[in-house]
Amino acid sequence: MTIPQSIHTGTLTTTGNVLLKVDNIALGYGEGAAEKRIVDALSFDVGLGEFISIVGPSGVGKTTLLRGLSGLLKPKVGQVVVGGHVVSGPHPDIAVVFQDYSRSLMPWMSTRENVAFPLQGRGAGKAERNKEAEAALEAVGLGGQGDKYPWEMSGGMQQRVAIARALAYNAKVLLMDEPFASVDAQTRFDLEDLVIDLREKLGVTIILVTHDVDEAIYLADKVIVIAEKPATVVDVIETGFGTHRDQVATKADPRFQDARARILTRLRHND
């Protein structure tokens, strides 16, 4: 695999093992008195190579939080620190896989061009771009399909392209916003296992946002539960599954069941 092997190296300064630090942030839309506060007093740490799920009901502010983490939305209070640098806008160490994969891919570009586009933005030459794009497509199981257009592909394949694009960008942190919410169940399982596989192979740090409790537990090392208005962290659960997962065995694991019961109670309690 020729995909980013440099993830653990580079100029990253991490305090202890913490790669990303969310420090007491508040997020909202609008200014001053007219502000609509969505997220408040929210903190958590993400270790290098860790897989974090953030779970919460629809409309609680998950997308808003993710926009805050990625530098698309400036926090009203507090800060997000990645690798020792305060995030003040979109950051080269952060890539995002958006909820609306079908709209975030550009229909006028082939799959390869879509994946290579961020590299072009960085000034990489054509040959290099295409090589990296092809490798990223290979990694998500779309090797040799670079000439297809997004609209010639199924939803699941389009989401793979979006993941490949984020991988090719070679960021240290991958943020994913309900990436599998609009594909069918089987595709969803395949994509979940693809992400677990990529994490294991590439060691990339992942923060995934979802409203699906099972998905949150199945994927993550650590589940962060957010609820309330404005949204804040109401629980943190270490799953302790290690790096390997199995759709049947893991979900039958008593630790999975316990975590599930705990989160569901927590969320019901907060209604």
Binding site: A95, F98, W108, F117, G121, Y149, W151, E152
Partner: protein, 273 residues
């Protein structure tokens, strides 16, 4: 006329375009219709239903044949084509660049909206006498008139097109920190292209309209001038022949552009569900 039961039928345009298998029955009917129209015309001329100067079908066909062998005709066609395309190309470049800038820079958008609305609705041909005073009956004057008339559709469509950039794409471009110039060329322009293409098509027919209009009214050489000259010389058969070519020219350009738009913007049809 009967009101037959109808399943949702594709529009006439689409039906005519089913490229792979030619519908011979329909083609035959169209040829028949053409013959009937021409026959009616001929009868109307003979009976005296049309103004006395109207030439018969056969004379016009003769004139069309004659025009095809006349160097002056080809020269005139070339001049009209040159003026119209030069003006049209200038309009496309200027309209697209300005339109994308205006559409994406909010203060510029608000400031120019009245001017753009005014320019779009202004019948530019009215300015011809004034432009004529300043530039004379020259090719430059003709091209200027063509640009003044045809830049607006492209401009307006480019503004509309750039406004509809998908928020998901805006986020994507920010996250991956795409530089402005690259964004302009590879994101904004293609995203607005379906709108711009419509503007470019409208602007092409306006370019021809303006070029011919200028030629009809002034001494600038071209197809329009030939029509005026034929009318002044009472050569009605030639005038009709030139008119036919003007129509063929306009129709040819429109068809060519529609076809080009269809094949270049395949992604747009596919991804619109």
């Amino acid at each position: 006329m009967t009101l037959e039961m109808q399943a949702p039928t594709p529009t006439a345009v689409k039906a005519g375009r089913v490229g792979s298998k030619v519908n011979w029955g329909l083609t035959l009917q169209r040829v028949l219709a053409l013959i009937i129209i021409l026959a009616l015309w001929q009868v109307a001329v003979v009976v005296g239903l049309l103004p006395s100067i109207t030439p018969g079908v056969i004379e016009v066909f003769g004139a069309i044949g004659a025009a095809l062998t006349m160097p002056t005709f080809w020269a005139a066609l070339g001049q009209t084509l040159t003026a119209a395309t030069t003006g049209w190309l200038i309009s496309c470049v200027v309209g697209v660049t300005l339109g994308l800038l205006i559409g994406t820079i909010r203060p510029l958008d608000r400031s120019t909206s009245v001017v753009v609305e005014f320019g779009r609705a202004f019948p530019t041909i009215a300015l011809m006498p004034v432009v004529m005073l300043m530039l004379g009956a020259t090719m430059t004057m003709e091209v200027t008139m063509v640009v003044l008339a045809s830049v607006w559709p492209v401009l307006v469509q480019a503004i509309l097109g750039s406004r509809r950039l998908d928020p998901a794409i805006v986020d994507t471009v920010q996250i991956f920190r795409i530089p402005r110039a690259l964004w302009f060329r590879r994101v904004l322009l293609p995203s607005a292209m379906p709108f711009i293409a419509t503007g470019i098509r409208i602007s092409a027919s306006i370019s021809i309209l303006a070029a011919v209009g200028v030629e009809v009214l002034t001494q600038v050489p071209g197809l329009g001038r030939l029509i005026t000259l034929a009318q002044e010389a009472q050569r009605w058969d030639m005038a009709f022949a030139y008119l036919f070519f003007a129509g063929l020219f306009g129709w040819g350009i429109a068809t060519l552009l529609a076809w080009g738009e269809k094949s270049l913007l395949a992604w747009n049809r596919q991804s619109d569900d």
